[in-house]
């Protein structure tokens, strides 16, 4: 459904963010994109809807070649791709309903949207979506009155009102607490299943990625270094994606905090000048 071919992005500063990335995502597949900060995860999903212009390569969304579209055609193509952001990217001073309805902007004219005269079927759909994400009581609240998790739900409803074919999700949980993070990821996963939506989810939290994605892609310095199933991730592959680190302590499924602290303690030594320096863990794997 979505195919990237030899996608390359060089920023004007000369930094190579992506180098010849090729991948194919079939309909309904939820892909987690993991990798260290600066690996090009955000650049990759922003290239897909051309918030960032790719330097080379092709992007095809269900037979539409995206990189060569005129601005009018791009507008139409963007309606088919819903985007969800890390800091929610809501319009703070507008109400929850207005924020959700802004997902319909690509389908409507300026004055209709300026005067908030949306067609009744769209408003009904917005109501349904708000009910689905559990925000019915907050419809007339301003977006900045909501909690982080609630705001992200508004962001999700906005993206879904576009009736997209694919969701581009940029660090959906980075500003949320662990419980809310899981709820949001579960919601995204369920909605993708309900609507047969594909999704690319940038995420830092490897455990969440394993839990909720169908497929994991590891990006390092702008190149794909891993592409496989969630249960294939092990210490060796994490080292390939993120670099050397003692993955075994972090990868324990129910690691107790106390034993974790002890493990850290044994690696801390006190040197002659009285300065504490942690000695890098040796033999990570």
């Amino acid at each position: 459904m979505l195919t990237l071919t030899d996608l390359t992005k060089r920023y004007s500063t000369g930094d190579r963010a992506l180098t010849q990335v090729s991948l194919h995502i079939p309909e309904g597949q939820v892909v987690a994109l993991i990798g260290p900060s600066g690996a090009g995860k955000s650049t990759l999903i922003r290239c897909v809807n051309r918030l960032v212009e790719p330097t080379e390569g092709r992007i095809t969304l269900s037979n539409t070649e995206l990189t060569s579209l005129s601005s009018r055609q791009l507008r139409c193509a963007r309606r088919r791709m819903g985007m969800i952001f890390q800091e929610y990217a809501l319009i703070d001073r507008l109400t929850v309903m207005e924020n959700v309805l802004s997902g319909y902007l690509g389908y409507t004219g300026f004055w209709r949207s300026f005067l908030r005269r949306y067609p009744q079927p769209v408003v009904s759909e917005a109501f349904r979506l708000l009910q689905r994400v559990g925000l019915e009581p907050f419809i007339d609240k301003r977006a900045d009155e909501l909690s982080g998790g609630q705001r992200q739900r508004v962001g999700i409803a906005r993206a879904l009102l576009q009736s997209p074919e694919i969701l581009l999700v940029d660090e959906p949980t980075a500003s949320l607490d662990p419980k809310t993070s899981r709820q949001i990821m579960r919601l995204i996963k369920e909605l993708c299943a309900e609507r047969r939506l594909a999704a690319i989810i940038n995420i830092h939290d490897v455990a969440l990625a394993q839990l909720f994605a169908d497929r994991i892609i590891g990006l390092r310095a702008g190149e794909i270094v891993f592409d496989g199933l969630p249960d294939q991730l092990d210490a060796e592959i994490l080292t390939r994606i993120y670099g050397e680190e003692d993955w075994n302590t972090a990868a324990e499924p129910e690691a107790e905090i106390e034993s974790d602290l002890e493990a850290v303690d044994t690696r801390v030594q006190t040197d002659a000048a009285g300065l504490k320096r942690s000695v890098p863990a040796v033999g990570a794997v």
């Binding site: 918030l51 507008r75 193509a77 990217a89 809501l90 902007l105 389908y107 300026f110 949207s113 581009l168």
Partner: protein
């Protein structure tokens, strides 16, 4: 910034830290010395050019002026309501007209919303030329072109307001959060829709605050426009001063003061409501 180890020691406990290098410290002292010398030099220059006999006489002259102003000629007040109303009209309509022109100008001048670099330069040009000329001078020019009266005053106030509102508004536009704008663009919204949903709500409080602040300033500025014949209470003020009718001058001052006080109160209320 510089960390030094005295006596070739490499022990961390001996490390010394200062904010500036010695060289930078000396430069800072020299800059202060230069600044203070310049201030004293200017002081002397001004003092040499002042006729101190007049200054010594100042308290007596001041007291004399005040005694002529008191008591104010209250009966003159009923002739002032019309010019006072004109003054408020000039300020309000001038502000509205100025805002209407400054609003698109600001969007064309802000780096993140301008359609093209050349258009941005043109918009900045408009803003700078409007700001560089005082409304009293605009009024003088317009009275020669349009003839004396309220219209010249309104346009003078409007022209001066474009620059003020335009500059502050385009700075506010440049400081908005970029991600909501990105999010609106990502829905497939058109350029104008991105402005109305992504940018406008973010700058609305600033826009309201700036406009009301300019209206407040314009009330004060329009009281003097009459001095050059552009309508309002300044005309009466000019006439009263020219005929040395100081008791009339004082009543005009009192009315202006009261008007400014009321406008200050209103703008504080409105600003609170918008933020």
């Amino acid at each position: 910034m510089p960390v030094r180890y005295p006596d070739h020691s490499t022990n961390l406990a001996d490390a010394r830290w200062k904010l500036h290098t010695t060289r930078k410290q000396i430069l800072i002292w020299l800059a202060w010395l230069l600044g203070i010398s310049l201030f004293l030099l200017c002081w002397k220059q001004i003092s040499d050019n002042t006729m101190w006999v007049f200054v010594e006489d100042a308290p007596r002259q001041g007291a004399d002026l005040i005694s002529r102003m008191l008591p104010p000629e209250w009966s003159y007040a009923h002739l002032l309501w019309k010019p006072l109303w004109d003054t408020i009209t000039i300020a309000t309509l001038g502000t509205l007209l100025g805002i209407a022109m400054a609003f698109p100008c600001a969007f064309l001048a802000a780096r993140n919303t301008t359609p093209h670099g050349l258009i941005r330069s043109a918009a900045l040009m408009v803003i700078v030329s409007s700001r560089s000329i005082n409304s009293l001078i605009w009024a003088m020019l317009l009275v020669t072109i349009l003839g004396p009266g309220i219209l010249a005053g309104i346009i003078a106030i409007a022209l001066r307001s474009i620059g003020f509102v335009g500059k502050l508004l385009y700075e506010a536009i440049e400081e908005i959060h970029p991600t909501p704008v990105e999010a609106i663009a990502a829905t497939g919204a058109s350029r104008m829709q991105v402005m109305s949903y992504g940018v406008l709500p973010q700058v609305m409080p600033a826009f309201a605050g700036i406009s009301i602040y300019r209206w407040d300033i314009n009330i004060r500025e329009s009281t003097v426009l009459g001095l050059v014949g552009a309508g309002g209470i300044g005309l009466q003020l000019n006439a009263a001063i020219n005929t040395l009718a100081w008791d009339k001058v004082s009543i005009i001052f009192i009315l202006i003061f009261a008007t400014v006080l009321v406008s200050e109160y209103i703008s504080a209320k409105v600003r609170k409501a918008f933020i």
